[in-house]
């Protein structure tokens, strides 16, 4: 089927005005031997057929809403998404608009981004939020770009906590491979050690220290001392934070963080098999010129009305070209709007409730599971909604058994940490009922008896 609204008669009139005979005549600049290839693709489907085909493909998945009970997190979380969000996102005025380059006819997008920036500032405590990055991992890599640019390339070392999400560390390594940056910190620090253990890696060549909050294992640390020590050596500190946890926990700003980034998928965005999601990026006003990405600022129009525009655009790639901090041109506009609606409609009360439910249920789960013979908590530190469970058998084996019972088990930590054989990272959110947790305990107990 086609969406083209031109009749054959209109087409012919247009060709005549142009002065050519056929549509094919418009392509004479294309080398003849490669012109008009026969594409080996399936024939076109009608809408009715496509709807059926896609429904069929989707039915070959097992979802965490109906098919499986999920205790899997590790960077993406199963939260309740209020109905109102998608009703708003499906307004064509929002989703079929481009980047708001013409502010006179884009105030909807611009004010929504401004509000998103403000809401992220509340959550993180930071002065400035940009309009978002691709995801949490790329936002963390952009924090490296900021710090590298801030010291004009004179500090070339990044100290990354080993308890930062392994995929985030991978992305940072990919992003920095042409920059001459040394990524340190992943070895020589024990996972059981507190955050101050990283301090020994920070020196006068370090531009940035990156830690996660709660960390990849779910642990909550107060990073104030680490940040003080890093600042004493002249380095900046980036905290990768979970936005749900920030509704309960001390803000990274209160600890002295210079940059706070993270994955905002928990704020009303479906998991969608990993994307698209929403990387948030917040910092202090003094680093705003080195920050990549779009930024919306308040102003007035020539009628004296309060209005919003993209501002400080001369920092960005299309003007600053190869001297720009990053090449990013887009933001996750529609998803930033979704996150803004989530934070607005949950508000102070709902956001607090979600954080508290995650915390309470995760602690009930930890308490219950750690009592099963053969299981135990791997770390004794405070945690939020994720914790590491030491298991009596390899996690892959346990998870296969859980799957037979319709349970999606936790993340197998041995994939990334050879020292954490038989360690499972379990995530619990407001979506998990007590019954589900009890069932998980029951099946885990079975496994240890097998």
């Amino acid at each position: 089927m086609t969406y083209i609204p031109i009749s054959p008669k209109e087409r012919d009139a247009m060709l005549e005005k142009i002065g050519v005979k056929t549509l094919d005549d418009l392509f004479k600049d294309v080398p003849a031997k490669h012109r008009f290839p026969e594409l080996d693709l399936p024939p076109a489907l009608t809408e009715m057929e496509a709807a059926a085909e896609l429904a069929d493909i989707a039915s070959n998945n097992e979802t965490v809403r109906g098919d499986l009970i999920s205790f899997l997190g590790a960077g993406m979380y199963n939260h309740y998404i209020p109905s109102v969000i998608d009703h708003m996102l499906r307004r064509g005025e929002f989703y079929t608009a481009y980047t708001p380059y013409q502010p006179e006819i884009s105030q909807g997008t611009l004010q929504a981004i401004f509000e998103y920036q403000s809401l992220m500032s509340v959550l993180t405590g930071m002065e400035v939020s940009n309009a978002s990055h691709y995801d949490g991992a790329t936002a963390a890599a952009e924090a490296v770009n900021l710090a590298f640019a801030q010291f004009r390339g004179k500090r070339t070392k990044v100290v990354v906590s080993p308890s930062l999400h392994p995929q985030y560390r991978d992305v940072i390594r990919t992003y920095t491979q042409g920059m001459g940056v040394e990524v340190a910190g992943e070895t020589g620090v024990h996972l059981e050690d507190g955050p101050e253990a990283l301090t020994s890696q920070v020196d006068d060549k370090t531009c940035l220290v990156i830690v996660q909050y709660p960390d990849f294992f779910g642990r909550i640390y107060d990073y104030t001392k680490l940040i003080e020590d890093a600042h004493a050596k002249g380095a900046l500190v980036c905290v990768v934070a979970n936005p749900t946890a920030l509704a309960m926990l001390k803000t990274p700003a209160a600890m002295g963080a210079d940059v706070v980034v993270g994955e905002a998928q928990p704020l009303g965005i479906p998991m969608w098999y990993g994307g698209p999601s929403l990387g948030f990026f917040t910092t202090s006003k003094k680093y705003v010129h080195k920050m990549a990405g779009r930024l919306v600022g308040e102003t007035v129009d020539n009628r004296g009305q309060r209005a919003y525009v993209l501002t400080l655009t001369a920092r960005e790639q299309h003007i600053k070209r190869e001297r720009a901090t990053s090449n990013i041109c887009s933001n996750q506009g529609l998803l930033a709007l979704g996150a803004a609606i989530y934070m607005s409609v949950l508000g102070k009360t709902g956001m607090g409730q979600v954080a508290n439910l995650c915390y309470q249920k995760a602690h009930y789960a930890a308490e219950t599971l750690s009592k099963i013979p053969g299981y135990g908590l791997c770390f004794s530190d405070p945690f939020f909604h994720e914790f590491s469970l030491c298991c009596p058998k390899p996690v892959a084996e346990i998870n296969a058994h859980l799957l037979d019972h319709g349970i999606l088990g936790g993340y197998d930590l041995s994939q990334d940490y050879p020292s954490l054989q038989n360690h499972m990272l379990i995530a619990v959110t407001e979506m998990n009922s007590k019954e589900e947790i009890d069932l998980l305990a029951e099946i885990l107990a079975e496994v240890s008896h097998d």
Binding site: R152, H289, T313, A314, R315, I319, K320, R323
Partner: protein, 125 residues
Amino acid sequence: MNTPANLKYTKSDEWFDPATGKMGLTDYAQNQLSDIVFLEILVEVGDAVEPGKAIASVESVKASAETYAAAKGNVTAVNSALSDKPETLNSDPYGDGWMIQIEGGDFGDAMDAAAYEEYCAGRTH
């Protein structure tokens, strides 16, 4: 266009005062950039500079530019007040808008005011 006669000028629109060793951005350049909102001076006291070396990065509402050293020498002072008031580059490019001061001061083939005026007049934009 203001082009003081006592200064030397570069093709990349910097000025240099052989008497004081100060350098900065020309009136022509600030006018082209229009409203300047950000300035970062890229060198420190003690650094050696020479023509072609970037000494500052400037951003206006619509454009960005690098400022290059107009003469060779060692930096003896940096106008650190300028970063907080980058609009000074628009209002007083040859006075409070100076960026750095050097000792030495071999300005190579920099133009005099008359040559610079002629050069600017011949540019299309």
